[in-house]
Amino acid sequence: MEIINECRLLFTSVTVPTLLSGLLLSFKLAGGILLASLVSGTIFALLKTYAGRIVGAIITVYVEIFRNTPILFWITVCFIALPVGNQYIRASAGLFLASTATICEIVRGGLNSIGKGQIEAGKSQGLSRLQIIYAIILPQCLRRVIPNLINQTISVFKDTSFFGQVAIMEFLYCSRKLLGTANKYTGHGIGAMDAFIIFGAAAAVYFIINLLLSSVMRAIEMHGNKGKVVVK
């Protein structure tokens, strides 16, 4: 009973909209970063696979650097070092760069799984290189890597929780702030119960959203397997 009462004090018409606006910001940032890094990651993967040795080596170096250093590190560094853009762009840049590296590796795996025969078939039809990539390779490749891409979506959404570190008012930052000012709403000192309620609610939100995403992934995987004709 005490818990319900505490919840009622903590989640009021003043605090809930703030939390929701934080969640909305997390969504927006995650969505923007994902879309942008999907485009850049795919381009990088194509360049790494088809554009010759030197370009490939440069992209390999880029990917290795970003996959072997912490994301929080890059978020902080980009936030401090970027001379242009508003705070959102500067904060997002780090996660965008890291996500690009991961998506590049994912898409490259997909590209490698497509048989040489597909390219030859395209060539024999008189298609140009760009046409082959655009019309034959990419659609098959992207379909194959959808599960990995959704995993990456979950990762990026989870990683938006780092943005609080550079004072972006995302969901976790708002939750933490609510905890810090909880005594204002409850009328007594901040206790362990407040921490459990607020972070528990935040955890539930993250959990449900990510679980939905992974069930979508499983559904797509099932759907894909149903229609697939195994050619041996």
Partner: protein, 228 residues
Amino acid sequence: MADMFALWRWQKLWEDRMLFVKAFGVTVELAVGGLILALILGFLVGILATTSSRFVRALTRIYVELFRNIPLTLQVMFFYYGCVYGGIKISTLTVGIVGLGICSGAFIAEIVRGGLNAVPRGQYDAAFSQGLNYFQTMTRIILPQTIKIILPPLGTQLAWLVLDTSVLSIIAGGDLLYVTKNWACNGTLSYGPAYLVTGIIFFIICFPITHTARKYEKKMEVGRGEVL
């Protein structure tokens, strides 16, 4: 930009090098402690996830899904602020090791489960037919084969664990990234050298691990192809 990496900033960094050495030690402690806990939890839960009891399997599922789908940042905060506001004295190092261990354990459990499922059913039957009990079958027949399969993903997971120690900077964990940020923010604003050095340290630790894991994985793929 050139001023960011000016010589005097590097000298300043060199003067305070012991701070960074100590922070590096904390990061290593976090990673090693977290890894040990994660391996124990991961193998335990991973093995339990392949038992015949539906109830046990459901429990392992809940653990895995819960800790994989909630940001580590939030897990660490939950644990830390729960203790702080609950009046329990707890060091950030303990919070870090437990947080990293439990979270990484969920990922390792999935890897172990996958590895166990990849061992053909016939291996179990053969072992049981030789009169081995469950424990003997696991330790002598199944796990040695499993470990060979899961070594590459375990390596990648280890690298992630090292990178994830940086999350502790959020609760002032005294880890490498926290000290870097603090040192750079205070007084001289020498971000350039501090972050460059920290980035290189992380890279030097993680690159060999991920690189070896990938090489080993490729070798195994080739090996499998030959057998088939």
